[in-house]
Symmetry: C2
Subunit: 575 residues, 2 copies
């Protein structure tokens, strides 16, 4: 700290000089001691000078309100929100999240280092603190066909960047545990920094081996028992409440009913659509929901603030105390927990404030490349007997691998799988290098009739993924995504119903969240109308059907993938 | 981590290979989740591989016992124990303390960098983890006459040493708050590392200004209210239970009665004699006492382990979890909390095990230099009226500044202060550079009759300090300490009763703790017999009477010092 400045801060902290801003009379949440204390918060140059009795050049009366440190989203992918990073951050910041620990692995899977640089550049001037974890698994596994390979060598370039905190979620648990050289090169590169985990459903020995490699967080945990297993292994549990994966209720209920020590728990969203952020909230929703479930508000607030800061070694964030950054959320009361105002570095964040967004490099807007792809690629011969069926589970990103008899039809002398009776066709089409690779499988739980839905957002390789009950609409949907250079689309009876273009790497729109919300709302309603059950977001759920690091079964451009067995099948029929 | 080793660890963690050691069946304290879970702890190469169900090459049955992470003393001065560092650490390690955060400022005040190097060298091969904070205040204040000045320039040499964690307790709060250049140079040097505090009795504004400077711990706190004030300011409170300062009861009682969140509290000893460590224990005593006062044992254990590790950024210590260092304390039960066994890096610590101790450089054994010092230096003319009297407070290192009428006598025509009626003479004699500087004052609360006690351990400048009821015995005591090149001594009726030589910098004995204990016990008994009240350790209490950073009044070689007013008086008589 500059000594001249310190001298002024010290005098202001001691009441000898007036600081530029004093927020007066709120009940201030003291994150270190976990209690509320009424007082004035003195601020200068975006730093808290003290909490006590102060008068300032400018004073804002917050008597009777509750002032907390800005919330921290301990793990998220900005791309999943469909809008450009600056757009998302402005919205989420309005909900009180002032710090984002971002893993740009969607961008990296499409565009490699250029994708990461895009995220860094886009978040330079936003009204929030954005830190980046370098994606560890690009591609996610050896069965993926993605756009770029990010080696330890390429990662090195990021080590000196002050906004890089560590290594992004290490999804390839098998490589970690078996001691793969390339994986451990990456782990070694980030020795002494935070290495984020992604460790769903590991057994006790595997989890210990995974933690032994130096991985210290996980956000994939879906129940209390596994959360405790991770915590005992020394990992921070980042309780996730996103659009597709909603794990908060199960974990918080366990913590509340057993009065568990929550010091190593934080909150994250992982993947949450802008539309849901607008409707429901962001980390403030995690806090609110946890409190509704009976968690003491002080504990919930610590998860959203100081504990996340401790987890990521952010010594200047997560508390309202001398020397901490002046990031605040003002709440109306402790029952409703409505966000009234948000401050970043001592400045009130205004919803209507627009900043110049750095432009997107042209190469990042031209990333959907198909060659030699025809409707024939979508044919699925029926071989008789049972087939592996990918059953989607509502509210989870895990899937179930069913072995079932599926309908069949005879077309031009060939026995083919025929969508119907709840069984649909699902296909993944490689889109980065025009290899023409297409995997076709059978899915249950989507229930769309008379059409198809498709997306270029498809974790983590972001190939094209399409589900439908007929090949013509599925083929049309793929063609439409090539035309729009990425996006979401719905086709029906041979026509494109609607497309949400996502031209930035095929992942994000640059048309603004209002337009995204408008189109998305219409498309989601249509999808439900076409038979997709209410209760889940069809596009987000679709986007996880190709992710080969989550059990039990996935579709990839190379075919059907059985996660636990690490086995790739050209066809879902085992016979 | 070496990949070859990791592969073995991973296989052992998964039960595919046998680890070298398994501690079986204990209730293991899970520091992250704050609970006990019964299980086997697998260990290899001094690292925990996992807690679960394991068999190993060697197995130790701990069924029914309690296995905790090794305890952490978050702040201590090894020199205060009177024995050489290795000696102390072996004793304290036997009590379960396996990590020591050491501030060698006593050594630095006498011998500068050579003193710090001595502490580093002596603790290289001990069965514990010893980390060092670079002393920040050598000398402690501008009124001190010590042996060496440690500038920011000299401190730089320590920045790259892996066992140096940060900056030692910053005692000169005035320099911090006023923005002194030399103090802030030191603070800046350790930016991003831990900077320990020493902040007794600061008012709310001063405390905020102090914390603003980046200081994040304090161990000087004596009551609950101040502890909470520090915690709210973002500081870790290191609850001290030493020989002279016993602050645990007051703070823990407050925490218990108010059900306070204790996540930012740790334990320390600061200054504790080896004899008391042997009798009462070390950090295990802090834990035990806290539990007796009603603190849940899980919270007490977290203070002694993971929280201290978090405070100092020691990511491999403070828990029994994969990848953590295998430092354990085995306890008999949760009521008595007796230490049965202690492990460091997976090895059982044996009390009888002696290691070669590196020799002490000769210059460090020749540090008591007096010239031109005569008995006349101890004369204290009585000027009539009231005088400042230094009142010692039992169980505290703070003192009270009384203005009282004191006895007087006429000797050879001069009116002199005459010890009696509870008033004794106290003197501080400069011993580093033979300047002959001698300050003489009046003390109350010691009550010695017919003799004197003296010490070369006298925080923090470690000049000679002597208290007595007659000049002859006081002079003799000073002469005796020159002869022994430092130590504790008692004189009586013109004769030396006994001396404990402390030849290493005038601070430590190299004769072993048995000899130190034997002589010390005898001397303490004698001191009480001569009139010093029971209930406090006369030598430790004496050693704080010259420390000019603790209110209210001190004796220094330059005279009586009033701490709060920062005022030096040549004589205690104000008239």
């Amino acid at each position: 700290m500059d000594l001249g400045k310190y001298r002024f801060y010290s005098e202001a902290a001691r009441g000898l000089k007036k600081p530029e801003l004093v927020l007066k009379g709120a009940y201030v949440f003291m994150a270190h001691s976990g209690e509320f204390v009424q007082g004035d918060v003195a601020v200068a140059d975006g730093i808290v000078l003290g909490v006590g009795s102060y008068s300032g050049e400018k004073e804002i009366d917050l008597t009777g309100k509750y002032l907390c440190p800005g919330f921290i989203d301990s793990h998220l992918h900005l791309e999943s929100t469909l809008v450009t990073p600056g757009e998302l951050i402005r919205q989420a910041a309005g909900c009180g999240t002032t710090t984002f620990i971002v893993d740009p692995h969607e961008s990296a899977n499409v565009s490699g280092s250029e994708g990461i640089d895009y995220i860094l550049k886009q978040t330079e001037e936003v009204p929030a603190n954005v830190f980046v974890m370098v994606p560890s698994c690009v591609p996610a596994t050896h069965v993926d066909d993605n756009g770029c390979i990010l080696t330890a060598g390429k990662m090195k370039a990021y080590l000196d960047c002050p906004r890089i905190l560590g290594l992004g979620e290490v999804m390839d648990a098998v490589s970690v545990i078996s001691g793969s050289v390339s994986m451990h090169e990456k782990l070694a590169l980030f020795e002494g920094r935070v290495r984020d985990g992604h460790a769903p459903f590991l057994n006790s020995g595997d989890l210990a081996a995974y933690a032994l490699a130096g991985i210290s967080t996980d956000h994939e945990c879906v129940d209390y028992e596994y959360a405790m297993a991770e915590c005992r292994n020394g990992m921070y549990v980042l309780i996730r409440e996103g659009s597709a994966a909603r794990n908060l209720d199960a974990i918080i209920r366990g913590l509340v009913s057993r009065h568990t020590d929550t010091s190593f728990f934080c909150f994250c969203t992982d993947d949450k659509h802008i539309e849901e952020i607008r409707r429901e909230g962001h980390i403030n929703y995690n806090v609110k929901r946890a409190v509704q479930l009976g968690l003491p508000v002080e504990k919930a607030l610590k998860m959203a603030t100081i504990q996340a800061a401790q987890c990521y070694g952010l010594k200047h964030l997560g508390a309202v105390a001398p020397g901490y950054q002046a990031d605040f959320v003002v709440l109306d009361n402790l029952a409703d927990l409505n966000v009234l105002e948000v401050y970043h570095k001592g400045r009130l964040i205004r919803a209507d404030e627009k900043k110049e967004i750095p432009p997107c490099p042209p190469a990042l807007k031209n990333t959907v490349h198909l060659q030699h792809f025809t409707q024939d690629h979508l044919r699925l011969p029926h071989r008789g007997g049972k087939a592996h069926v990918l059953r989607m589970i509502e509210g989870q990103i895990a899937t179930e691998d069913l072995m079932e008899e599926v309908p069949c039809s005879k077309t031009e002398g060939d026995l083919l799988f025929a969508p119907g009776d709840g069984y649909l066709k699902i296909a993944a089409v490689e889109r980065h290098k025009g290899t023409g690779k297409t995997g076709v499988g059978i899915v249950k739980g989507f229930g769309i009739r008379g059409g198809a839905i498709a997306s270029s957002v498809s974790h983590d390789s972001h190939n094209l993924i399409v589900i439908g009950d007929n090949d013509r609409d599925m083929y049309l949907a793929v063609q439409e995504l090539v035309r729009s250079q990425g996006g979401y689309t719905i086709t029906e009876n041979g026509k494109v119903y609607e497309t949400l273009p996502l031209p930035v790497m095929g992942l994000m729109s640059d048309a603004g969240y209002e337009e995204v919300n408008r189109v998305l709302k219409k498309m989601i309603a249509k999808a439900h109308e076409m038979g997709i059950p209410e209760g889940f977001d069809p596009f987000i759920t679709l986007s996880f059907m190709a992710l080969p690091v989550i059990p039990e079964i996935r579709i990839t451009p190379r075919g059907v993938y059985l996660v636990k067995e690490d086995r790739l099948l050209e066809t879902p029929f085992e016979k």
